[in-house]
Symmetry: C2
Subunit: 413 residues, 2 copies
């Protein structure tokens, strides 16, 4: 496999502003390799509100279990992220490793272990030697700086071909607040190198319950609407922290997610989550094209999303996209297999603006040339009208290429 950057990578990277209340630094702890940056520490000098969403896997990693347990406290002082080892399927040793890491971080920062959050990415099934963190975290706790976002995004990359950063701002009650986020993932989701991790921080002052409500609502059409290969990691982690530093500018703490003062913030947050999620898809393993699958007219939104995911996860649809083949019959197939209500004679399908099928038949004005022209582009919109109701969803994916097979057939050996 080549080390080249995805052709779908951003042409330029945004300048990431410093964000008050969080400092970050990286180090080489020697988790898997010597002299390779493999640990990122985020420190909140004042307690930050915290929210999180995690993998739905029934076999989650030890750090996912650990974060879920600490989330109830609602307060974060430190986050430790390592690469090289996912600490997944590591049993009792895995739990001991998270405890030891949290203990080291808590000592370094001067906080409770319940205020520490952890994420790990790398090979699974290998015991993680957490003693390697001890001295390193002491140094990182004091070394952190506020303007370290781009470096932090680079530090958590594994098979990613570019760092993923995004920033937005909004006003809450007339006070400007900032939201910064980073993500890693180059396959939504493999159990080893391509786990999806994302950390988003705002200087807004928002209570934990409200923050969780915002994040849980925001993840549906963003991180939970992207798929590279339908495979779900043991370690997927998305966390949102609010340092509350904007209180110094007079921002009044918001405790209720439905407070109208949060409207602009919600919009900015959702936009940032979408930005990061799409960056993950655009760095999908072997990806050459991005596909936006929109399903309209389904029985309800949930049905629309299941149909859209059926299309987006279909190997036959994804290989057709890779081959620039306007093979709309495979879209019909994927609608049919989704198991949701659909009537052949009401279906219509568009590639870009070209309607290829309508009323259960090929479009009478179908032009192979026009449809193929759409498939030559880097971004391919596929739209399906079910014609039964008003359910609607959009899911983002990439094509399935020989490079995907190569990357994933050769990775571990």
């Amino acid at each position: 496999m080549s080390g080249s950057v995805s052709p779908l990578a951003p042409k330029t990277f945004v300048d990431m502003p410093a964000l008050r209340g969080v400092r970050m630094a990286t180090a080489a702890a020697g988790i898997k390799y010597k002299n390779r940056t493999d640990v990122l520490m985020m420190v909140f000098d004042e307690p930050a509100a915290v929210a999180g969403v995690f993998t739905r896997s029934k076999c989650p990693s030890a750090p996912v279990d650990f974060c879920r347990q600490n989330l109830g406290g609602g307060v974060a002082r430190a986050v430790v992220v390592n690469s090289g080892n996912a600490n997944a399927f590591t049993g009792k040793k895995g739990r001991e490793a998270t405890e030891l890491t949290a203990k080291s971080a808590a000592k370094a920062v001067g906080c409770a272990e319940s205020e520490v959050f952890l994420a790990s990415t790398g090979v699974i099934g290998e015991p993680l030697d957490a003693t390697k963190f001890a001295g390193v975290l002491d140094d990182l706790a004091t070394a952190g700086t506020e303007a370290f976002w781009f470096e932090a995004a680079k530090a958590i990359m594994t098979t990613d071909t570019y760092p993923k950063v995004a920033t937005r701002s909004a006003e809450i009650g007339g006070v400007k607040v900032t939201i910064n986020g980073i993500a890693k993932g180059a396959g939504m989701i493999a159990p080893d190198m391509a786990t999806m991790l994302s950390f988003v921080v705002t200087d807004a002052d928002i209570a934990p319950a409200a923050l969780q409500a915002l994040l849980s609502a925001g993840v549906g059409p963003t991180f939970n609407s992207v798929t590279v290969d339908s495979d779900t990691s043991t370690s997927d982690t998305l966390m949102l922290f609010a340092t509350g530093a904007a209180a110094a500018d007079g921002q009044q703490r918001v405790t209720d997610a439905s407070d109208a003062k949060l409207d602009a913030f919600r919009t900015a947050l959702n936009d940032l989550l979408r930005d990061l999620a799409l960056q993950v898809v655009r760095d999908g393993e072997g990806a050459r094209k991005m596909v936006a699958v929109t399903v309209e007219g389904a029985e309800n939104d949930a049905a629309a999303k299941r149909i859209a995911l059926s299309i987006a996860n279909s190997p036959l649809v994804k290989t057709a996209v890779a081959g620039e083949d306007a093979n709309w019959g495979r879209v019909v197939m994927a609608v049919g297999k989704a198991g949701e209500m659909a009537e052949r004679d009401r279906l219509a399908i568009w590639f870009g603006d070209v309607r290829v099928a309508v009323d259960g038949e090929r479009d009478p004005t179908y032009s192979e040339a026009a449809a193929t022209a759409v498939m030559k582009a880097q971004d391919i919109p596929i739209r399906v009208e079910i014609g039964l109701g008003s359910g609607r969803a959009t899911v983002f994916t990439c094509d399935l290429t020989k490079e995907y097979v190569e990357i994933n057939g050769d990775y571990r050996s």
Copy 2:
């Protein structure tokens, strides 16, 4: 793509015996190409009992709709199978084509249209010109012979690299009966060239309801337990016919599927269905290895099957098999994403006879060399013990190779 035969093809083909009561012949009707065999006709000179199972797609082809409608009558006199056009997503024109084909067949054979069954495979969305069948079926109705099974299997091949045939015999009440079957499919299941079709005929005398019960029960662990790419065709069709010719030898008609006289027949039928289903997997597009995924100790059999399918459909598991990589972490991932009850700390995983993980951790005696040796073979058994109940299932799949991407990226163009 090469035209070479799958490395998993049978080394030799079984001699298919003649089967009393059914005659077959093929012809070139010019459905898509000129001078290419594209239509197979089966004729039952006496009314045969009929049973069928079909795709679960919500967008089935016109022939699937047609067969379902005629199945209630329980009687078959003729079957017409064509390649070159799937008559799927063809709307009203599609229904008109099935009606015209049935009319031509009924006239040729001298039976009712409700005694005709149809199956089509090929490109979808193209109207099928059924007028091309008219004269051809008249000839085929008289030209058929009883010893035509291997030729019939070859005639329905599309992207298949070898014909799929199987035969078994059993006794019913002391009278020997024979079961012959053919299948096509080289991807469980694409909407165009790789649709799965299978036709099984016995000379036993079994009533339609009993025949349907046998087939519905038999399909679960056989044709419904194989997957190449998780994609479901609009046209999947498996039909079972009983000519009743064995009545001449004194076999008494069986009307109840639970009749003990059918025990040996049931075993033989299920064995034949499994044989044909595995031949389909072994001809999976781009396949180099076959994988048998067995899940034991799940909450129940249905949960075991869902977990086994999650493993068998995972692109990351299938690419690891292609790469001969004993990447058991991806099996853990696939167990976790299945959504069924599973406890990490109770899981155990075997590749062949090599236990690679136990009690939620890598096996203490894990040998990479031993696990890798298993992956070098052509047939890869993967076994997962969930440790929660007694649910059990086995699912068969193949690896995911660059050739799969090549075949399906280039097919239509």
